[in-house]
């Protein structure tokens, strides 16, 4: 572990936290439309996993996708502009929070469908096998998505064909407005890969170094041609399903327990780095200030950006060059 890596992991987690807090504030001010889903408290998973990837590797994300996108290198300015529906946004204002993608960075899209990414991720992994190019594909999803049939369909094919695929189950304990433990016939989620002949690893999803380590192992395994791995990363969804969720289903005091500095992924990592004198406090403060400034600039960029022109409504429904002619 190098100091540069420690600082990078810290930087990305703080970036996600500050981005999400900013997005929440904009949503509360009615500057965003529709719905948005916060990744606060789960930052260590996206950051720990994506730090084990190369730019050519691909990820699929979820409706709770801002963190994955930022961790894989997404541009906060274009993301913020998209949240505000602006022409300069990643999707030119047509996608919003749940559809941000950057194919150049291997981000094959957030997804509005729970489990919608599992087939796409398996397809990208199949393409890596097909081309024998050594790339791996990562599929992020929540514990709720484990009960979608398509997870079972694609996990079977991934195991059968030894696809270079890493399933990252973010066990944040909620499926929309319920505790997920109400919906699992067996709460041991690591068993979900067993029938398909590939390993599962449980990891403390709020420990970025632990996540990073299991991700590296899974990525190495995939690159060696040994097939998929299921990582079950234990975490907690600090906020509701969406912003505005009344949280009536949640146990009292639970959020506070998970926000404790011993559990919060960022505070915990910060204390670890400082406690072991791996980096200096001033270095982290500098990062905090840089990120804050970057987020402010992203908001300014988004606010200064125009709405898309109405005539763009009809753009990009199809690729228009008819290559069949």
């Amino acid at each position: 572990m190098s100091e540069a890596l420690y600082l990078e992991l810290y930087r990305k987690m703080v970036l996600i936290r500050m981005f999400e807090e900013q997005a929440r504030d904009l949503f509360m001010k009615n500057m965003m439309r529709g719905a948005t889903h916060m990744y606060i408290g789960e930052e260590a998973i996206a950051v720990g996993v994506c730090a084990a990837l190369n730019q050519g590797d691909t990820i699929t994300s979820t409706h709770r996708g801002h963190g994955h996108c930022l961790a894989k290198g997404g541009d906060p300015k274009r993301m913020m502009a998209e949240l505000l529906g602006r022409a300069t946004g990643y999707c030119k204002g047509k996608g919003g929070s749940m559809h941000i993608a950057d194919l150049d960075l291997g981000i094959l899209g957030a997804n509005g469908i729970v489990g919608g990414g599992v087939g796409i991720a398996a397809g990208a992994a199949f393409a890596a096998l097909y081309r024998n190019d050594g790339k791996v594909s990562v599929c992020f999803f929540g514990d709720g998505a484990l009960n979608q049939g398509n997870f079972l369909e694609t996990a079977n094919m991934a195991g059968l064909w030894k696809l270079p695929l890493i399933y990252v189950c973010e066990r944040n304990r909620f499926a929309e407005f319920s505790y997920t433990d109400r919906y699992f016939s067996d709460p041991d989620l690591t068993k979900r890969s067993e029938p398909f002949g590939f390993p599962a690893i449980e990891v403390d999803g709020n420990d970025v170094l632990a996540v990073h380590q299991v991700a590296q192992e899974a990525v190495a395994r995939a690159r060696r041609g040994e097939g998929p791995t299921l990582i079950v990363a234990d975490t907690y969804r600090i906020m509701g399903h969406t912003i505005g969720d009344p949280l009536t289903y949640r146990l009292k005091g639970e959020v506070e327990e998970w926000q404790d500095p011993s559990r919060d992924p960022i505070l915990r990592f910060k204390n670890y780095l400082l406690g072991h004198q791996l980096v200096g406090g001033d270095q982290l403060e500098t990062i905090d200030a840089e990120i804050r400034q970057g987020i402010d600039e992203a908001v300014q960029f988004a606010l200064a950006s125009p709405d898309p022109e109405v005539q763009t409504l009809w753009d990009d429904v199809y690729v228009m060059e008819d290559k069949g002619l």
Binding site: T58, T60, G89, Y90, C91, K92, K94, G95, H99, I100, A101, L103, D104, L108, G109, N111, G112, I113, G116, V118, G119, I120, A121, A122, G123, A124, A125, F126, A127, L129, Y130, S137, G149, N150, E153, T154, N156, M157, L160, D315, D316, V317, Y318, V319, E321, D322, K323, G324, L325
Partner: protein, 326 residues
Amino acid sequence: MSERIIEFRDALNEALHEEMERDPNVFIMGIDVGQYGGVLKVSRGLYERFGPLRAVDTPISEEGFTGMGVGAALVGLRPVIEIMYIDFSCLAMEPIINQAAKARYMFGGKAKVPIVIRTQGGGGRGNSAQHSQSLEAIYSHIPGLIVVQPSTPKDAKGLLKSAIRNDNPVIFIEHKLLYNTKGPIPEGEYLIPLGKADVKRQGSDLTIVSSSRMVLFSLQAAEKLAEERINAEVIDLRTVRPLDMQTVGDSVRKTHRLVIVNEGAHTGGLAAEVMARAYEEVFDYLDAPIVRVTAEDVPIPYNEKLEMAALPSEQKIINAVHGFFQ
């Protein structure tokens, strides 16, 4: 140009062989498409020639392997996914409708999803309600999809090659009772453009618009009508989304009467869409209300007499045309 007479099924097979030879990014995936050569025998020889990674046998997991096709297409491959019956495509509507059709638009125009979903549609063979549907209207309803329904071996080959080369998701519907039909195809490489209808028979008294197997019925009806000195023009839409209303409109401006034949159920069907578009675009040229000949609004029944009663037929088309000239 010299021609050969071949089966519809072999025309499709030739298209796959040629396109897989031409472009290493093209592969076929689906249930029994590889070793077995395809339930429809359309993928015959591909496994032997291109190997298991390009003629991929899958488990019976339509949502899963169609979704994988979408993912592979997003990263630049050109999958041809075979779904054995269009009825089974209902299991794969999530990746088709929510993912493939929308990725380009909702991601801001950077993504391409060059996937072809080949599937077997239509009734008439006693396969009953879950293996006989005509669901072209459902897919035609979705912005972002192209929907193709060839009627002849020549069109089938040229359209499939165009579909594979096209950068958009294409639903390619092959009628189960066309696979054994024969027809002339040109020697050598040729393409048929997507989105372009074909006048299969010239006529002056009325226009019959249809697609897929209904084109055969329409042509047979036109021959019978000719014996009564009623001269029908028959238009094969070939692509049902986007609709080539230019060709339909040009014909109606000449004939002033329009019959639309479609094998899908009556309500909310493709015929309704063509009818609406024709009323919007060439109403002033019509001498009579437009008539639709479609399947009855029932699930397709098993018994032969019942199934024939449910589906359009040559006689039903003739009867509809007679309504114009009473």
